[in-house]
Symmetry: C2
Subunit: 356 residues, 2 copies
């Protein structure tokens, strides 16, 4: 039985679900693949908790309980208040699992790879800064990042297999914001945007500031990751997103933005009417080709797979040299803690199976 | 640079395309993952050709030319006429890649796994005999078999990731015969089955004896593989398929069957009319749940993903504990030599990355 050391960064909803899934799959994974995943360290924003031999089940369960009660992990034995995951000894090998949303991890994570570690990311940020940082992380397959795009859906692994087997990407079309997909469906049902948006906000379907969804910036980051995985050496400026709101609403306070949401109703209703008149559907689509990207509200024809999309489902359509006439399409829920954590765990298992 | 030895069984259309793809990806795979795939042996039905250090590019290209001209590989230097791949030394480690359609490989392949080898299959037969043989091949992840179901589509890898991460399959619905899908589309367009079938037969879209498609046996084999991958320990009898022809046409000569194809027109036209009257579409669908399987012509509602399927595309819909409300769906061309070979190559790469 081989022990695979993990260092986990982030104990939010996805991070806690990941701990639960690792505990629940310990016996079947040992039986099937002959390894055991051991948390040698866990970090949240308040500190680092480590155990050379791996935290045992009781310790991990205590951490889950503490976090569910809003406590910091620094209240637990073995923790170092204020110490970040970067304090973990550089000579110690582990899979570094980043399920945070924090910026600035690309350089320290690349340093761990240089020291012989592997990385698994749900955090998009380390992959969406400079191309040089992306290359430092992903060279030689040292980083897996399925959950950064489409959560648990097989998107990155599929694209990577196409590229590795010598296929060439001609076009990727993707709807990869559950929130914006949900709003499109509501608009089609005739709801004013302001009504749909306030409901979604109240239900927690949007970010605390809904402009973080409506700006399209998150979709642009995912599109950049898809482009780079396809072999395109693009800097972030290559992918810009069309926002759902005008520039004058970009810098007002969040409360003022919500209060003025009615200003978006007429322009978006006009876009929906325009799509309907053309016999199609309005979708927020990322379109990538080797020559450029578009991330925007777009009218798609009624017989296009994207037109059949409803609610928060994601859809990814890959047209390649080998899938030229008819694309390879992956569709399903692209958000949610259980499926995101499952995507991370699948990457951890693939890395562990490499016994790198 | 690590050299990964391959023994390839089968040099038909998929086998030759696999050799071409391996030659075409040598440099990028070496750069990306630091290994080189080397054919230490190639076998077809006439003999075995081996080279301890791996066949070089010129030798592989000569083999491709010989096979394209209908010659046996036994005309080439290094070959052993009449010797099967089983003559390959048992003490030599390799990835055994079976892209044949031959029966009886499950026991000798399992013996190779016991001797420390790994297996990649496009051949469905070794996985669709007894459950004991399936277990001997797949225990500890020693065999990968993405191309057995849906060719290059990410079906087995997706299902395996769901299971490994602790998800539970509730239902799989799949359309996984391009030929039967094509016929369904033609029937919906109003063509009599006999007309569509003879056209498909003339174009080589069907097996030489079209009953090999119309019996549903191939779909049943794929359904069995999906069920077993989901963790269901089913023997082959657990999955039976509805044939498109009556029992009295099962044992007549192929030519007589083709001559009597008109006898199928009225019953199938009636099924299409029935589907239309119900507001749905007629599809040949495999449905799996933990309690049983059905492989049959079925009326699917108009808003079901399967109803939107056209022509030879495959579709796989996974409903699980985590994908409960809305399924994870994979769709696209599920046959063809380039995509099948690419599925095999992706499995070889994943195995090689494990440096097992």
């Amino acid at each position: 039985m081989q022990t695979i050391p993990l260092l986990q960064i982030g104990l939010g909803g996805v991070g806690r679900e990941l701990v639960r899934q690792i505990l629940a799959t310990e016996a079947p994974l040992a039986r099937r693949y002959g390894f055991r995943l051991a948390h040698v360290a866990l970090a949240d924003t308040t500190g680092l908790l480590s155990a050379a031999d791996g935290l045992d089940r009781a310790a991990l369960e205590a951490i889950l309980v503490a976090k569910e009660h809003g406590q910091s992990i620094t209240t637990l034995p073995g923790s170092t208040t204020g110490s970040s995951w970067e304090a973990f000894p550089l000579e110690q090998r582990a899979i570094f699992v980043d399920v945070s949303a924090a910026p600035g991890h690309e350089v320290p994570l690349a340093a761990r790879i240089a020291a012989g570690c592997r990385v698994v990311l749900a955090n998009k940020r380390p992959l969406s800064t400079s191309m040089a940082a992306f290359t430092a992380l992903t060279a030689h397959g040292a980083t897996r990042y399925e959950a950064t795009v489409g959560a648990g859906l097989p998107v990155i692994a599929t694209l990577q297999s196409l590229i590795d087997s010598g296929d060439t990407i001609i076009r990727i079309e993707a709807a990869m914001s559950g929130t914006l997909g949900y709003l499109c469906t509501e608009l089609e049902a005739g709801k004013p945007l302001s009504v749909a948006l306030r409901a979604a906000h109240a239900l927690g379907y949007t970010e605390p500031d809904p402009r973080d969804d409506l700006s399209g910036a998150d979709v642009a980051r995912k599109a950049l990751i898809l482009a780079r995985t396809s072999g395109l050496n693009w800097e972030p400026e290559a992918v810009t997103a069309e926002a759902w709101f005008p520039p004058e609403l970009a810098s007002v306070h969040r409360d003022e933005f919500m209060a003025r949401a009615e200003e978006l109703d007429a322009p978006l209703a006009a876009r929906v009417a325009e799509a309907r008149a053309a016999g199609g559907a309005l979708r927020y689509v990322a379109t990538l080709t080797p020559t450029g990207a578009s991330v925007a509200l777009r009218v798609v024809p009624a017989d296009h797979p994207l037109a059949t999309l409803r609610g928060p489902d994601n859809l990814f359509s890959f047209t390649s040299a080998r899938y030229a006439e008819r694309p390879l399409v992956v569709r399903g829920p692209g958000a949610g803690q259980p499926v995101t954590a499952a995507g991370v765990l699948a990457d951890i298992i693939a890395t562990a199976r490499e016994r790198w």
